[in-house]
Amino acid sequence: MSSATVERHDAAHSDTPILTLDDVGKSYGNVHALRGVSLNVRQGEVTCVLGDNGAGKSTLIKIISGLHEHTDGTMTLDGVECRFPSPRAAQASGIATVYQDLALAPLMSVWRNFFLGNEIHKGLFRTLDIARMKRICDEELAKMGIIIPDLDRPVGGLSGGQRQCIAIARAIYFGARVIILDEPTAALGVKQSGVVLRYIVKARDAGLGVIFITHNPHHAHLVGNHFVILKLGRVVLDAHRDELTLEQLTTEMAGGQELAELSHELRGVDPGKVVTPAEVEHGQVEAPARPQEEEPSA
């Protein structure tokens, strides 16, 4: 996971992208969520997609995973122009996704969710091979560092992080060419986040293309080879790892100038200050105002 490994892999794999988006746009009615986005996902590289809330990151990966169809531009897979009419078609091309909202059926058991859409069957009557599916599911979850003793329990009763682990383990197990992770570490503990980052590196080293969406610049900088920052549906930065330091990346993610302002503003807040408990009317906590707009009354 040192930069040496990264360079070795950049050299080891061909530079032709598996997946290319060219000038792709997507409108939801009158909302233009994506405009003119170009992106290359290369084998053995982690492409980090970063940006504010509502920047269009999820929209972007939903196009790649077949959930939405793009309204402009072209997508090419292995040099052939393609358009996925359904997530099933994308999966058939080896693209597996962890969605931000996880896509688990709450009333179904853990192992049924894990294999949903990819069930293993055997014999003449195509009977589900339940024993084998449970075993694989158990192993894959154990590798993530979580133990769910009863795989027959409905997913709806698990903790948010456990559910997220199931979705991630599933995508990693079934991803054959491209793995897409939309904020996979959002609900995870430190240990599981570490496991996920290691998995991302493993998948990259195994020669898969990884698209990693996160709001955490540290995570992005740890594993990313390529960084794409979206803002209001457009690409505002597309840079290789060598061209950016962690500080630069953090600054870019926060929108450059805005972070400097924020740190200036927050420095004014006295960390040692303790306020006596008081009752506050509903709606009486003031919105933090920008200094240039209004002087803080505190």
């Binding site: 359904s86 009333l107 009977t127 589900l128 027959d152």
Partner: protein
């Protein structure tokens, strides 16, 4: 970072000692059909106690016959409900099927079997149409199939009157192929004191096949998923449309089976028949533990629900009670069953 730490493995995972393994009893109790099974036993004991003819073994055949005519439809309707959709046209669709077979065969002077096969095509097409309309309009299936319910009801009456000048089809019992077709759809066998209608066989076989499909095949997995969360199911690659349209077509197929029994049992079909049955099928499925919201349930349960119906219908008669109260009894039973289902499920999940 050491080599061992880089390898995510079992070592990192310790057993969670807060979760005790669940006892067999708790696992059995958390099955969706448990509530209906308890209900069936209670109702069985009740009528055994109060209705003398109920104890007569010869009446088993009659009770099972009543249950089977409901069960043949409750099974696919239950599957459909687990898949998250309703079919309010299921009752009249059976009549449509019987009418089609009879009218086609009679008016064209064909072998009865030609009518039977064409009726199958009509029934499955009606199911497929329901499913197609569901996705085309994006409306809830409750509304879509309410529409088909009224359409079919009108068509049944209108076409029958147009072709026969009557509200029922002509007697086809002297036509070619009737005897063999009646063997298939309306025969009965006698086992000792019990006479069983062939519908009982169909009911049991359908239940077993449906239970197998639901719990042991990938299609079953998809049915649970599209009912539980169809957006999530689509996102992970389940063919949602195909699954749901397939379920509607399965209802169509069973409506055909049911319609053929109607036809060959009575030789003619009344065009107004079947209205109101759709709710009976849905109620049987709900009593059997199928959630109205989809994603959970059991076809074995739906069949037990049908059995409860069969027992109640005849039990009330045998006990000499006023049959006017049948529907009231039904309503109470539906409420009780749903409450018991929810209660048992809560209890079992906590164990």
């Amino acid at each position: 970072m050491t080599a061992t730490a880089t390898e995510p493995g079992r070592a990192g995972a310790t057993r969670d000692d807060r979760v005790a393994s669940r006892s067999l009893a708790a696992r059995l109790l958390s099955r969706p059909e448990v509530g209906s099974l308890i209900g069936a036993i209670v109702i069985f004991l009740l009528f055994m106690a109060v209705a003398v003819p109920f104890r007569n073994i010869a009446n088993v055949g009659t009770i099972l016959y009543g249950a089977s005519t409901i069960g043949i439809m409750a099974v696919p309707v239950g599957l459909l409900m687990i898949g998250g959709e309703f079919d309010l046209s299921a009752g009249v669709a059976a009549t449509t099927s019987g009418l089609s077979a009879s009218l086609i065969a009679w008016n064209l002077g064909l072998n009865v079997w030609v009518g039977v096969i064409l009726a199958l095509v009509v029934s499955v097409a009606v199911g497929a149409f329901n499913g197609w309309l569901l996705f085309k309009t994006g409306l809830p299936s409750f509304l879509v199939t309410l529409g088909t319910f009224f359409i079919l009801q009108g068509v049944n009456l209108g076409v029958t009157r147009l072709l026969t000048g009557n509200v029922a089809t002509a007697d086809i019992s002297d036509m070619d192929g009737f005897v063999s077709a009646q063997k298939v759809f309306g025969s009965e066998i006698t086992l000792g004191p019990v006479t069983l209608k062939v519908t009982v066989l169909y009911w049991v076989v359908l239940t077993l096949i449906a239970a197998y499909v639901l719990l042991r095949t990938r299609v079953g997995n998809w049915i649970f998923a599209v009912g539980g969360d169809s957006a999530a199911a689509r996102a992970v690659g389940v063919p949602v449309k195909a699954t749901k349209i397939g379920l509607f077509m399965a209802v169509g197929f069973c409506a055909w089976l049911s319609g053929m029994h109607l036809l060959f049992q009575f030789n003619t079909v009344q065009s107004g028949e079947g209205v109101g049955k759709e709710f009976i099928f849905i109620i049987a499925a709900v009593i059997g533990g199928c959630l109205l919201t989809g994603g959970y349930g059991s076809v074995i349960g739906a069949s037990i629900g049908a059995l409860i119906f069969g027992m109640t219908q005849l039990g009330i008669n045998y006990a000499g009670w006023n049959p006017d109260w049948f529907k009231t009894f039904l309503g109470v039973m539906l409420l009780l069953a749903t409450v018991v289902n929810v209660y048992v499920k809560l209890k079992a999940d906590r164990r």
